[in-house]
Amino acid sequence: MLEVSRSLKPPFDDEFQRSAALDQLNASIEHASHLLPAQGPITVFIHHNTLHAFEDLPFPEAVKRAAHVFGCNPYLSEDQYREALRSGRIRFAELKQVLHRDLGERADESIPCFGTRLDLLLAMLHDPLRTGPSEELVWFVAEANALRRIRPEASAAARARLIAETRRWVIRDLRGGGDPGEAPARGAKTQARAPQSLKELLDRFGGSTIENWTDDAWESFALQSLWRVCCDGVRDLPIFAVPPAGPIRHRDLLLEATGEDADLLVNGLLMRFVAAFLDQGLAPSEMPLRNEGFCRAFYGLYGQPAGSPDRWLRGLPEELRRLTDRRISPLESIFESLEALGVPSDEWDDFLSATFLPLRGWGGMLRQIEIRGDRAVHPVPPGSLVEFLAIRLLLDRFAAAHVARQAMDFKGPLAELRSALHERLGRHRQPTVEQRAFLVFQLAQVVGLSPDMLQRLDQPAWSKIVREIEAFNGLERRRVFHMAYERRLTTQGLDAISIHAPPRRGRPTAPAFQIACCLDEREESFRRHLEELAPSVETFGAAGFYSLAMYYRGAADAHFTPLCPVIIRPQHWVVEEVGNGHEQAHHRRAKTRRALGLASHRLHRGTRTLASGAVLTGAAGVLATFPLVARILFPRLAARIRKTLGHIVQPPPVTRLHIEFEERAGGGPDDGHVGFTVDEMTLAAERLLRDMGFTSGFARLVLLLGHGSNSLNNPYNSAYNCGACGGSAGGPNARAMAHILNDTRIREGLARRGIELPSETVFVGGMHNTCNETVTFSDLDQLPPSHREEFQQAQRSIEAACDRNAHERCRRFMSAPLTLSFHAARQHVEGRSEDLAQTRPELGHATNALTIVGRREWTRGLFLDRRAFLTSYDPTQDDDEQGILTRILQAVFPVCAGINLEYYFSRVDNSGFGSGTKLPHNLASLLGVMDGAASDLRTGLPWQMVEIHEPVRSLFIIETTPEAMLRIMDRNEGIGRLCRNGWIQLALLHPESRQVSVFHDGAFELYEAQASALPKAASSVDWYRGWRDHLEFSQIDAGADQASQPNSH
């Protein structure tokens, strides 16, 4: 016993060495765990940068690293970019520009035969370069048309040149060389140059009948000689590009060597176990020993004798018993496993990262629930992630040993498995002659380079060409393509602002009413339509939690929901109460709801149990046909019936928010620490108004709108809600803020702080449902009679704006005809939100591309195609230190960049960074979704959400001076990092001169508009009507008599 344990125990000489090693191990685990996705439970979906862990690197470098670590695509595919080039979405001139700028001085260096470096690289971008394994290339060259027909991509001129020059060369040199009697001197020279292989080729084609060769024969000869010359040219070149490091996990090497996947065994077991461990209440039975921690639960369950008959798990119970008996901690067990697997400490970082990644979704969720236990119903004990890793490595050991034994009869110690595998695999990652030659071969054809010219090159020249071609690999080409792809949109956005912003329009005087919406880009069109319908309206944009961070519980809600950005933990609890004599009705209805709820819960569970299930399904199952058929075939009707029935048990319409602080014992929601003090309310109100630059010119009616979305059969519902409210609907925040602003005490406080709210100004809070496009208002019973008329007028404008907004949204839904009327469009979106079969209830943040912070006056009247986050900010009211801008940007940067980058990565690699198609998704543990029966937890966004998104980094346009912005970037590490490392694109609009400057390489450069004017249209509808695709930004001017022709790019 002692012998066994000694051989397995880490060989620490003393306690000090031991703790040092464990510390290092801890650091490695911490390092590796940062790669795990940071997505929390799907019920509160927070958008964040998928590659948050790499933010301290410049964007191109970061995505390259991440691509290697995760094995995902960091950009769209080359074919997609080339398609964009064909359709005009990328312009060749801009491609050339960005490449030139990217290369700098190196652009004009000359490359033998190909002109300058810029020419060569552009040629590589222009036409696809194929490659493949040597065998495939040999087959392709031998069997397909590669040696008979010049690539179709080659231009007619290049093709003609290639053939003509080959012809001249053959007749002049090659053939002449074969007949030294006629021209001895030249012939001897050629003899030296033309290798034997070309001679053979000529003989094979029939050198004597050369005058009678057909055009096809010439083409074929040109290609065959070209191919031979290319092969000869690259044959003895050294390797230039460092091949990427090979896999280091035993499983990866085993898979490559034997085709057997050890992870199939481990993942199958571990997915089930982690899901059960994390389960938030989906399974009726809870995992026993769950509360004792991951390892203890695993030891308890899998240490039982007479368990699974699986061969690979033989010996596991004994091993688990040893770990328990000897009280080996999870960290020590990890150490043991690494030892046993033969992983030296300098490989720990990479090895542990690679070990986490196969189940990164589950691992990430474990980590999230561990560190943010407040966001889960059943939190997990600290240290769970380390324990998860310990179990994973333990199982990896068993699986690797099993597979090695089964598939390659390996019986040695596990520590030597990797070297055995390396030996077996050999290293054949270097490019072969065919692979290298094929690239040159393809390029020569499109450039029209004859074999003659290539054949005359010496080895240094060949080196130079091949080195250049290989350095500009697929990833580099996609990076350049991507810059050009972004450039088009950036130019459009900056042009739009440069042209539209300078005229000073000022704020509307005597507005009919004012309205504030969330900064969400989905509100851009809503605000635009409202402004078009009621030109005197003034609109604002602010983070949708309206400066009120609170836990909220509605009258019919069971729990408090945090309504604020996820970085804030609210300190205030607000409840909705039923008042004014409705209490009794409320209690009665609450009781009914509870009884109905319990009954339906029992029913729901009942159908999944044996006896009651039998009774239920047998007796009443057929009745399920009615809801089934009704909800699928007539979703809107079914919804209306449900709503009517639901009204019976809904809380009475008259409710109040309990916002104000009350002195009661203790803290926390249940003890009555409810609400804000008057001072806190005043501060929040002041902050909101100052942020929006809305401190004067109040209309008689001011509306505040939160937003949310509801849809059925959609685990991602929360991702459509307000991001500033932590993935919940933001109606209560708007309602509470309106209530606060109506309070005379607050107004007095505000007046003392320099904001005079006229007594006739009334605030009304409401909520905009971005899915079914409805706006509902709260506390209307408190609206003074004097304002009723105005309110009704405002409501009519808003209803009309909703119709039009629905109409504009419908242009992007392929299943909505383009000929819908406003009213029909509204019905269409209502139907979408109630349809069980609808996988795209709305399109969420798809297509977002701009983030604008500044006064509305310079974006008003600009058609931004629902692509711009709009935050109101007035630089003239800010202090010298830009305190207001700083706090706005502190919220805007993480939220907007987070949304944009999550959409970016989910779009460029939907199956890697995103969660793939929604259709086979399967809700697991009430925390997230899996693909089908069992898989890793899928994080990121599904295809249906990002389908129409254009992956571009958001262009931030901020109304401030370069000095101020640089100061903010210096003082706020997070903001500075995103800007300097290029995770966003940054431009400024000068508040005074209204000139646009662009951030580039650490400094701001003045921007000159490329276009002289923007297209104009009389109304948004005129501009977008009939178009499905992205639209150019345009000026909406009611005075413009006719819309210029829209152009989809």
């Binding site: 059925l712 349809d835 697991a924």
Partner: protein, 463 residues
């Protein structure tokens, strides 16, 4: 009344013909690379399914009106070897087949409508609906089959389309892998059914059910077989039913079938094809009446399955697995009822269960919202009601049982270990023997393929 007879014949042809038409149009247009548009496919699906449904309801009404319990639509003998064998295609409308046909139409019609929305813009839209059409055809043919050959045809169509739908997302490795598992289970079940057909022919000279099961209308036929013969045929059919309905020890395939898009999981495995085994047992129920041992076997298998699936279902942490085990549990109960000698009860249970489960499957992704609504109504977290394992007193047994349930009774492991491995080993042995023999004959290594180094890793790597 010859007119009624002709009318019924015509309606019967419509019932079977409309899904056949759908399959032909969708399938042939795909084969000819002229895929129909989403709208055309949807409309065609609606029309054909509605026709089939209307015709089957009409048949039901006529049957009720003229009080006929057994209607046969004969399409003649397709192969005849005089005195030896005949292959006849025959459809039977009776109290068993008509409800099942109507159920198939209602559920697949609804799910067809659901899927035409749900699968909108999915690259495999057309493929999905081709397989869907084959599935509906298979279901209808199986329910109405009057001979075992006809039944086998439908049975195979259902199996084939189901497996291809499980492997719908063929670009990921897991769906094809799970589909292959299901395919293997289905083949075992098919083999048993085929053997049963052979035995039936041996016993009664033809595959027609009415010869085997005796005259009379379901469920009152009286078979003239001997109990031992009935036991033999019945046991084979029980194996066939167990494979198709996911009874123990084959239950592991049902959760694996959840790889496809939600609508196919819902209607095919949750509701329709999982009941085919029970239907088969109902179809041959006169055999059960003959042999008490057969009945006992059926009831026991059903009961074991139900208990197993209930335990496994109570610890599943994803909604689709939970629902599929709930389905298996109810199918187990239905089979038990059949074994206990009930006839109409299991039929009614089957119909109800299929409808309810389809609704639940279709709504599965909305579970989070449903739970939210329920919690709000109750005003508290949802209670974790009576965990079935919690009542077992001894901790060790509780742990063991929890793990047993979590690992789905080790059924798949057992099959792998004790069926797949020995099977593979036997064939590898045969392979070795054959190689030895060929090497001997060719005086040296006889297989060129041995020299080729197989390649497993990815071909194209990220640069």
């Amino acid at each position: 009344m010859p007119d009624t007879q002709q009318l019924l014949f015509a309606l019967g042809i419509v019932v079977v013909g409309s899904p056949l038409l759908l399959t032909c149009i969708l399938g042939l247009s795909s084969l000819a690379s002229r895929k129909l548009s989403e709208e055309a496919t949807t409309r065609l699906g609606h029309v054909t399914i509605a026709c089939g449904l209307a015709a089957s309801i009409a048949i039901l009404l006529i049957m009720l009106a003229v009080d006929k319990r057994h209607i046969v639509v004969e399409l003649g003998n397709w192969v005849v070897i005089p005195d030896e064998y005949h292959f006849s295609v025959k459809f039977v409308f009776d109290r068993l087949s008509v409800p099942l046909a109507i159920l198939s139409y209602v559920l697949s019609g609804t799910i067809g409508a659901f899927a035409s929305q749900y699968m909108h813009r999915e690259p495999g839209f057309n493929r999905f609906f081709v397989l869907y059409a084959i599935f509906v055809l298979g279901m209808v043919v199986t329910s109405l089959a009057g001979t075992i050959e006809t039944l086998f045809t439908g049975w195979e169509l259902v199996g084939l389309s189901s497996v291809l739908l499980v492997a719908f997302y063929q670009e990921r490795p897991a769906p094809p892998r799970n589909a292959l598992w299901i395919w293997c289970v289905y083949r075992i079940s098919d083999a048993a059914l085929l053997l049963a057909a052979v035995v039936m022919h041996h016993l009664s000279g033809e595959g027609d059910f009415d010869r085997l099961l005796g005259s009379g209308a379901w469920p009152d036929e009286v078979s003239s077989l001997e109990p031992r013969q009935a036991l033999l045929v019945g046991a084979l059919l029980l194996v066939a039913a167990a494979g198709k309905s996911g009874l123990a020890p084959f239950s592991g395939w049902l959760p694996r079938a959840m790889e496809g898009p939600t609508p196919s999981s819902a209607v095919f495995y949750g509701a329709l094809s999982v009941h085919l085994g029970a239907f088969l047992l109902l179809r041959v129920s006169p055999l059960l009446d003959l042999s008490i041992w057969l009945s006992v076997a059926v009831a026991t298998l059903g009961l074991l399955t139900a208990i197993f699936a209930h335990l496994a279902g109570s610890v599943q942490t994803d909604i689709k697995s939970a629902l599929s085990f709930a389905s298996v549990a109810q199918v187990g109960v239905i089979v038990t009822e059949i074994g206990l000698g009930f006839r109409y009860l299991p039929l009614f249970h089957l119909l109800g269960h299929a409808c309810l489960r389809t609704l639940q499957f279709v709504r599965a992704p909305t579970l989070l919202q449903d739970y939210g609504t329920l919690e709000n109504a109750i005003g508290d977290r949802l209670p974790r009601v009576g965990a079935p394992l919690g009542r077992l007193g001894v901790e060790r047994y509780r742990l063991w049982l929890y793990r047993w349930s979590l690992e789905r009774g080790y059924l798949d492991s057992l099959l792998t270990e004790y069926v797949v491995f020995p099977f593979a080993r036997a064939f590898r042995w045969c392979n070795r023997m054959e190689r030895r023999w060929t090497d001997l004959l060719s005086h040296g290594p006889s297989r060129e393929s041995d020299q080729v180094q197989s390649h497993f890793g990815e071909f194209e790597e990220l640069p």
